[in-house]
């Protein structure tokens, strides 16, 4: 399989490397706006380079494309792939806002195109385990939840596209909390209403802090707190705690801790813990975390089978609408907004 890579920054190099390392897959072309990075890459990797992605698509005719560029380029680039019927993997988030993505969704559905968006936490063993347990209904009816996504990243004004609203769509909510929003709706179904607040401190144009309270269609209520300016979080960490009729479940990047009031489906009452070593599975090639490899392999399988994974553009569109509602509510001092 020949894959064109658009964007050779941090994520492009990662996805490109993982895919290139798989059997029978090669990265056939590199596209970027930085001539320096392209020159560097071409010298080391001997792969054809382009500054114009349309030229790459026309000349190389790849079997699939990976798009790992700043958010404002996602929809234009994905649309060109969709128009040519080329399956694509798109880094998250989908778009600057949901309205921008509407023509893309239409084109993808019309062509029945295989797509994937990079919400890779679904492939992390602990979050996958939590999903499995929740789908089994071990907690009974769900009542409330608390969730956070934090990292110690930004403690001064950031340079670059992530902190420019025009290029990124916003700050920590669209750039980071989208991982958590995707997990929440994956676990608990669609939210119905949100009341949110945001705050900026280190960034000028975008928010550094956000807090949102949700009401879900299935009756669950709970909150999400997000910032990239939290001390003592060396790595990006997600924590979700869900409270149900029959107990509670806590899931992080590192473990799932389940507490049941009464035994159910072979699980004992009291605590059952699934720590990282209990859940770990080796992968064909690991760069940067096994969930990236699992995700990228799922993309390859999707291209081969013609069947999109669950984490496709339509799913990412749902996440985008939740993000829109959060920003809408925050702009109205936390006034509740329907989703």
């Amino acid at each position: 399989m020949r894959i064109g890579l658009i964007g050779i920054g941090k994520m492009g190099l990662l996805h490109g490397g993982i895919l290139n390392a798989m059997n029978d897959v090669e990265i056939c072309a590199l596209v970027d706006s930085s001539k320096f990075l392209l020159g560097f890459a071409h010298n080391l990797l001997k792969i054809p380079i382009y500054t114009d992605y349309i030229q790459m698509l026309e000349q190389q005719k790849p079997d699939a494309v990976v798009i790992a560029t700043p958010v404002f380029l996602h929809v234009p680039m994905a649309l060109e792939c969709a128009r040519r019927g080329i399956p694509f993997f798109l880094e998250k988030p989908l778009s600057l806002n949901s309205q921008e993505a509407t023509p893309l969704i239409a084109e993808v559905e019309q062509k029945n195109l295989v797509t994937m968006v990079g919400y890779m936490m679904r492939y992390s063993e602990s979050f996958a385990k939590a999903k499995e347990l929740l789908d089994k209904g071990v907690l009974g009816n769900l009542i409330t939840f608390q969730s956070t996504i934090y990292v110690s990243q930004l403690f001064k004004t950031g340079k670059g596209w992530r902190y420019s609203k025009q290029k990124s769509g916003g700050g920590v909510v669209i750039g980071q909390a989208t991982h958590l929003i995707d997990l929440l709706q994956w676990f608990m179904g669609p939210p119905q209403m949100v009341s949110a607040h945001t705050k900026h401190w280190y960034s000028q144009e975008v928010e550094d802090f956000a807090h949102a309270y949700f009401f879900f269609q299935n009756g669950v209520a709970g909150w999400m707190d997000s910032t990239w300016s939290m001390r003592h979080h060396r790595l990006l960490e997600i924590t979700i705690e869900i409270n149900g009729e029959n107990g509670n479940l806590i899931v992080t990047n590192d473990y799932v801790k389940l507490y049941l009031d009464t035994p159910v489906q072979g699980l004992n009452s009291g605590w059952t813990n699934f720590m990282r070593p209990d859940l770990y599975k080796g992968v064909e090639f690991d760069v940067g975390g096994t969930y990236y490899t699992s995700q990228d392999k799922a993309f390859l399988e999707a291209v081969q089978s013609g069947q999109s994974p669950d984490s496709d553009v339509q799913n990412a569109y749902k996440v985008q609408k939740i993000v829109d509602a959060i920003y809408d509510s925050a702009g109205k001092k936390g006034s509740p907004v329907s989703i």
């Binding site: 920054g9 941090k10 190099l13 990662l14 490109g16 490397g17 993982i18 290139n20 390392a21 990265i27 930085s34 001539k35 320096f36 990075l37 392209l38 020159g39 560097f40 071409h42 010298n43 080391l44 990797l45 990292v151 110690s152 990243q153 930004l154 950031g158 340079k159 670059g160 596209w161 992530r162 003592h232 979080h233 060396r234 790595l235 960490e237 992080t252 990047n253 590192d254 473990y255 720590m275 990282r276 070593p277 770990y280 080796g282 992968v283 064909e284 090639f285 690991d286 760069v287 940067g288 096994t290």
Partner: protein
């Protein structure tokens, strides 16, 4: 002469591959550098005269302290791991790859050429690319270069990224540069041992020093325990075993019964944060080494 036991450093700097909360608790405790030195000195009596150090910001402070220690500064061997990837991932988020490289090259001989590079002079870049790569490596090593360095390991994120792109000459460039400039053992850390050994053999690097996770339960072992064990049997390698206790999940007795039954185990790096744990772990390892 490769040390057979190397003191691990993760617990001193808030790194924990089991869970991050434990990492934070230990980091808070070891905020006081004298507590780190305490564990280091305590470990000496068990034949542990060296330690792993990644180029973490807090490790720089430790490096300065060690350089000023009359005895420890000379006697403690340092196995350096470059670069500290989490720092660069955050920098990539904050300012992008191009700015990382630009900022690292400021103050070097490439500074005057930076304008040319950004404008895309591919010809210039071709000549200078090896120099840029080695300069970036030197930039990372600089704060630690005056320590008693024994080996310098390339971080698994880079080793494996380079492997994934099949840019094996970069591994060779790294190897030759470390040997020539620093006169210490050039080494690699990896999460993909079988593939790395295959490629290193192809480029003629004999019996390399490689650090990789290996433990009885296969935690952080790729692609599988079976494939890893087979690679140890099939290739010449000096394996520096890490995560031998599966980030604290395994007890030393069973962990090292498993490890020392494998071939090509040249050394083990293990982190300890308490004296009783240090004593138990090092004594069990020593029993295996004395067989």
């Amino acid at each position: 002469m490769l040390d057979k036991i190397i003191l691990g450093h993760n617990q001193f700097f808030g790194v924990n591959h089991l869970d991050s909360q434990t990492g934070n608790v230990k980091e808070a405790y070891f905020n006081d550098i004298s507590r780190i030195l305490d564990i280091i000195r305590f470990s000496f009596q068990f034949g542990v005269h060296s330690m792993m150090m990644s180029t973490h910001e807090r490790a720089i402070a430790l490096s300065h302290t060690l350089q000023n220690e009359p005895v420890l500064g000379h006697e403690l061997g340092i196995y350096l791991l470059v670069p500290y990837i989490a720092k660069y991932v955050k920098q990539a988020n904050e300012k992008g790859l191009v700015n990382i490289i630009r900022d690292s090259l400021v103050g070097t001989s490439f500074q005057s050429k930076l304008g040319m590079f950004w404008r895309g002079g591919l010809g210039y870049l071709k000549k200078d690319i090896r120099g840029i790569i080695t300069t970036l490596v030197d930039f990372e090593i600089a704060p630690f270069s005056k320590l008693n360095l024994k080996a310098i390991f390339l971080h698994d994120a880079l080793t494996d990224l380079i492997l994934s792109w099949e840019a094996i000459d970069v591994l060779q460039l790294y190897y030759e540069h470390i040997e020539k400039k620093y006169g210490v053992i050039p080494a690699f850390c990896t999460k993909n041992l079988p593939r790395l050994l295959k490629e290193l053999k192809k480029i003629g690097i004999q019996n390399p020093l490689v650090m990789a996770s290996i433990n009885k339960i296969g935690y952080q072992v790729n692609p599988s325990l079976e494939a890893f064990e087979k690679a140890l049997n099939d290739y010449d390698v000096q394996l520096l075993a890490m995560s031998t206790l599966a980030a604290g999940y395994l007890k030393p007795l069973e962990a090292y019964d498993y490890l020392y039954a494998l071939p090509n185990i040249a050394s083990v790096v293990v982190g300890v944060s308490r004296k009783d744990h240090a004593k138990e772990t090092f004594q069990i390892i020593a029993q295996h080494l004395n067989k």
